[in-house]
Symmetry: C2
Subunit: 176 residues, 2 copies
Amino acid sequence: MPWDVTHKTKSKEKILICAAKLFVEKGFDAVGINDVMKSANMTRGAFYAHFKSKADLYNQALVVAAFKARENITHGCDQGFASLQHNYLQQGQDPALKDNQQCPIALLISDIRQREPLVRETYEKVFKGFVKFIESQGLTEAEALKEAATMIGAVALSESLTDKNLVEKLLVACQR
Amino acid sequence: MPWDVTHKTKSKEKILICAAKLFVEKGFDAVGINDVMKSANMTRGAFYAHFKSKADLYNQALVVAAFKARENITHGCDQGFASLQHNYLQQGQDPALKDNQQCPIALLISDIRQREPLVRETYEKVFKGFVKFIESQGLTEAEALKEAATMIGAVALSESLTDKNLVEKLLVACQR
DNA sequence: GTCTATAGCACGATAGAC
DNA sequence: GTCTATCGTGCTATAGAC
């Protein structure tokens, strides 16, 4: 593989990983192409050699975010649903893991409504994958859907509320 | 009360009610002052006679949205938590009620992270009021927090997912 | 492929007529 | 108080040098 192809691939990967973090943290509108490229140590102009538009980047970054978040949350998690639930609910709480990828399903849950159909399809696939994964821990589809709603709602709320005490009570209450 | 004071009050109320609908539906960034004023049958210039900034409008509209949504959801709901839960989960499903105010806690759940501290405080107060209201139906604080997370997560998801069948299954699964 | 520079547009906010 | 007109700014996207 020639050097320039590797270089291009590495640049694109770097952009995607930076974009995944930024978009999940701030949403589509609050993140400019400039912010993403700066975060990846490049300038605006280089962006369009890799992506055809900002929406294209968002769509691909969503997949990367989902993959990385799953890695993050299921890392060392072999003890069934209770362990998964605990790791998911605590994803934003451990300061040591503060720069890890958080779950795009929860953090982009209202952002996604304003996006184009292709992006919404991607989001929906990610959500369905999450539900299937919960089912694989021994839950029925209905149980998995309800547990997913609770976990996603709790994590989304935990990022939107500022009262640390309330957030702690909320996460404990959802843990069962 | 002189005519012009009444007129001003009515204009402001109209702007607030239109803004509450638009912001809850689309979020802060996707709604321009122009959109709000057009929806209220006025022009951009008149806006600053009533509000000092777009953020000021958003903050006040959030309170109006919470009040109207509560009216909408608790309307004819005297049968305890099960009835509240049913009405809350179905708020976006009945096409006849499609233009009613939906719950800002659920629909602005990720939008609110990017707003200024004053707005986030307002959101937090609204959320705490919602939890207290659930508690008043005979639940403990922990139970109320968990039920709130499930309901809010389910409604937020139901607006973000496009598969009607999946949404229906999700809402039924959360109904108990 | 990456850079600098800029076109083109949309938005928030202000100024001044009525 | 409401209107029209405008300034200033920030953004996406493109053009052209290297």
